[in-house]
Symmetry: C2
Subunit: 258 residues, 2 copies
DNA sequence: AGGGCTCCTTGACCTACATCAATGGCCGAG
DNA sequence: CTCGGCCATTGATGTAGGTCAAGGAGCCCT
């Protein structure tokens, strides 16, 4: 399958999902043997030795999703664990009346689907065209027993996630709208660096609404805050989901509440 | 050391801390070899086999803290990992200007201090008279290498924590004051059951201020919300940190946003 | 018993953000 | 090119919860 052809397929999916009442069949996307998993940051596949890589590639498969396509839903049986290799994924929880809280945005190298319980604790959905590696949970657990070092890596990743989550609680519980948005932009910038991209004009692929649900704000407040920052000369909106952090120092001070 | 004597010591500490400007020396409390660690829920020490228990008890020691005494501070080198055996601990992060976000309350059986990085990601402080088991991190890591099953248990605990943290993000970002307080009371009740206590008149050992910092509210709003629930007959304030959940059904509906 | 804590409660008022509503830009489809 | 959808932006208005201020209750200490 050539690259051109894969893109065609994604457009098909996108077209389909635009017409479906309930966007798309569960855990949709094109599935084929995974040749990726060459991402090297915070990844389960990072720093594997040869033997581990061999065994890993035997159980892994690849998933491709178009924008807005669901990967899995909260409370669905947690059959797989995923590793983002390209694109961006949003992860969220819902209240019965539809209020939504994003619990994270995931980028290449990030991991999702780790669940202690039988079922996923949150829903996951593609933000942009996205590719992921999929590990059947059962088989992965088998591997973990054989290679305790992989388990250690997972533990490290979980601890890291936990620290990130606590930082986010501080943001949600105690920061103002301005501080939240500033923190958010800086976070995107830092993570872009981590996966080897430029830190300055950053890409903000998600909608204002998604950002609002991540920061505990409304679309309108996010939008207003962006324009405030723009008017203050702190950021520049370049259009097309690109934002330039024109004055990082100010953003940094702002993100912390000064 | 007899029980009576230990209590005396704790009163001494309390007396001291009442007079000190900065409450008490770092990681204070009385330290003696640990005979506890017989708590059986979500604990590192739970379900150990005999050999593990032996090795564990060789590295563990015990810590006792009076109310308000710090266990460790954010950014301090993470030398130890702790397991609460009695009492209650609060864990929080601060903004430079002093705003505070509790990231959790810990009860007997809970674990804290797991850190991926060199330093603790948060501060921890006793809410009531508290005893903990202390594991030097380095030595614990040595044990983990020998007993991969313990590592698995830790991973399970971290995943569980992560799910709890995500639930808390939903609360902080999207719930109203009433929903937050209702969720909080139910959480306390559920956790009381988990560690084998009654689920109804529950003990609420922390101050309104602490609760506010946990729920992203002010002291006043927490207090007002308690009285609203009281007036509606949903709860009864029994005084002395005891609360009766008179109408759990209503609380449950309320906690979810209905 | 009385003074000085800290914590809780309640009231009056205020403000940051939500809500409601209108408009405009962009993009894909025909 | 035009039409229809979606998203972002902006304005006008509303409100949940914050802020400020004043008691009051329990507790320890003398």
């Amino acid at each position: 399958m050539k690259r051109g052809q894969a893109v065609m397929t994604l457009f098909e999916i996108r077209k389909m999902s635009a017409h479906l009442p309930n966007p798309v069949p569960r855990a949709g996307g094109v599935v084929s043997p995974c040749s990726a998993c060459n991402v090297r940051h915070l990844t389960l596949c990072a720093a594997l030795d040869d033997r581990e890589v061999t065994e890993m590639s035997a159980i892994v498969s690849s998933v491709e999703l178009g924008p807005g396509e669901p990967l899995f839903d909260e409370a669905e049986p947690a059959k797989n664990v995923f590793n983002v290799t390209a694109g961006a994924v949003k992860v969220y929880k819902l209240l019965p009346d539809g209020r939504r809280q994003m619990t994270g945005f995931l980028f290449p190298g990030d991991f999702l689907g780790l669940a202690n319980e039988e079922n996923y604790a949150y829903s996951a959905e593609a933000v942009t065209f996205t590719t992921l590696c999929r590990f059947p949970r059962k088989k992965l657990e088998g591997l973990l027993e054989k290679y305790p070092l992989m388990e250690r890596r997972l533990l490290g990743m979980a601890s890291h996630e936990l620290a990130v989550a606590q930082e986010q609680m501080l943001l949600l519980g105690r920061k103002t709208a301005r501080e939240k948005v500033a923190s958010f932009l800086l976070m995107l910038s830092r993570r872009a660096v981590q996966r080897g991209q430029k830190d300055n004009p950053i890409s903000v692929p998600m909608s204002r609404n998604d950002i609002g649900d991540y920061l505990g704000l409304t679309t309108e407040t996010v939008s207003r805050t962006f324009t405030l920052l723009k008017q203050a000369g702190t950021i520049t909106l370049l259009g097309n989901g690109k934002v330039e952090l024109s004055d990082r120092k100010t953003l940094e001070v702002m993100s912390d509440g000064a």
